[in-house]
Symmetry: C2
């Protein structure tokens, strides 16, 4: 199962009742965190999770509400006993920013590997297939799709017909290529066509841009900024490069994800639910995010 959890749903500042927007994804013993504002480590504790399995941290941009919790989180991960390297990826400059923040977290028992995303290249990290794309904010900002890819079904008849020794079936199924006595066996000899995986899109702090709908096409879940619901806040949203709930819903109409979650609510918005009838009128499978809200996404056959 691929668990996706919205640790917090607040934009700009943490509130006593709402953590800053960040998202935890958990698959196969590995955890990936997107954004880490002040208090994210407490939100993780409230879920009852440990810090050790956090392998990847993706940062969307360098505004404090998306990264100020990083030094504290890194220290917590250190306290958890982790010694394996951890990757932090983000826009150009991520190395400089993480370096500066580590002034107060200089000693960690694990390596921090920095990936500066320059050309929105695909990353494969800890079993997560990550596609960054450019958002449109006041500063360079990235959205991400995080996918769990799925190979084709194992085809024992083909393996038999090709005369592949039984002992190689399992490694081939796991994607390994085997060479023995000059003969090479490849996974495609025993696997059917790739099956549909799972895809989640996360994009906040942005104006609506076509890349969001394109990258989120047929996603299992889109998590989008819905900073304001009141129509008269549109000018403000445009000026500060944020997205209205209605705009997010219209992107979902284009992308047709299975579900849309809205997040990164303005501190002025006490009760996002008040706008959801209107939003579901645009895209029915829309939900207002809540702190701690999570879903277990399953591969198609597992659902049965």
């Amino acid at each position: 199962m691929f668990e996706v959890c919205l640790l917090g749903t607040g934009g700009m500042m943490p509130l006593p009742y709402r953590w800053l927007t960040s998202c935890m994804m958990r698959y196969n013993g590995h955890n990936l965190l997107i954004d880490c504002g002040e208090g994210t480590q407490i939100a993780i504790k409230e879920k009852g999770w440990t810090f050790k399995p956090i392998d990847v941290i993706l940062i969307t941009h360098f505004h404090a509400d998306h990264i100020s919790g990083l030094p504290g989180l890194l220290l917590m991960i250190g306290n958890s006993g982790r010694t394996e390297p951890l990757t932090i990826a983000g826009p150009k400059g991520i190395g400089r920013v993480v370096g500066a923040l580590r002034t107060i977290a200089p000693e960690l028992p694990f390596e921090v590997e920095i990936t500066e995303i320059m050309e929105c290249e695909v990353l494969d990290l800890a079993g997560f297939h990550i596609q960054p794309f450019k958002a449109q904010h006041r500063v360079p900002c990235l959205g991400y799709t995080v996918s769990i890819l799925r190979t084709g079904r194992f085809d024992a008849e083909r393996a038999k017909a090709a005369g592949i020794p039984l002992k190689y079936w399992n490694p081939l199924q796991k994607g390994q290529t085997i060479t023995e006595d000059g003969v090479t066996y490849t996974p495609d000899m025993v696997l059917g066509p790739d099956r549909k995986g799972l895809k989640v899109l996360y994009c906040t702090d942005t104006r609506p841009v076509p890349a969001i709908a394109e990258c989120g096409s047929k996603a299992d879940l889109m998590i989008l900024e819905g900073m304001y619901g009141e129509p008269d806040k549109l000018a403000n949203a445009k000026e500060h490069r944020h997205m209205m709930m209605q705009e997010a819903a219209r992107l979902a109409v284009q992308a047709q994800p299975a579900e849309l979650w809205l997040t990164h609510f303005s501190p002025s918005m006490n009760w996002p639910e008040q706008f959801m009838d209107e939003i579901r009128g645009i895209f029915p499978a829309a939900k207002a995010g809540k702190d701690g809200m999570s879903v277990d996404l399953c591969f198609e056959e597992e659902e049965a």
Copy 2:
């Protein structure tokens, strides 16, 4: 009134039910904050206070649990509409650390004035009389006494006898020196001897050192680290340069403050109150700190 509030009582890491140790002092429209770990801005919001009157931030040392909330707090102070300069003071290196953290809070509508405390010199800032002193931690660490000084009582008979024009009585009472037609009038001509002010000592992340008892002598309130209560944690406290509750109480016996509050509890300590019978056996006016706990300290005559 001089209000002193323990915003949080946690050491090392913020917990879902306990903020990191920091202390707000409020006097005469001015606020002084000591330490600013992750989440301090939320603790301030929970008190219902605004951010604009924060004039001074004192940092004890540069471990993340005492300073990681600074960038977010500075941004909140900026959002509050403050344009007056704000002073941040701390041990040598404070300029470098604040500069690094401001990588994610580069633009503020007010000036940040940095005071590096090298020789524990007295500071007078925004009406607070601050005496730093050296604590003993793994890294350079300062304790502070913060006092509200009080001038002598106004003596109208002396002012009259000295022939001081009535129009100067008020400015002289407020501490101004006046020169007119070659004659100089000084405050001591109209004021009696200095009266007892108010003094609060704050010291955490330290082994017990004599300076704590000396500086805290007869304080109205001592706020001291009480990291552990279990006797078998003493070796740990010594190794990591922290203070036991019992050690803090014994310092209070020497200093004889009106009251002792313990704070900076280990995350392993769920219920500090369980040790307080023993602690009050050492120093009766001791309290276990709680998040949000506050006191209004009054000058002697005001108490009546």
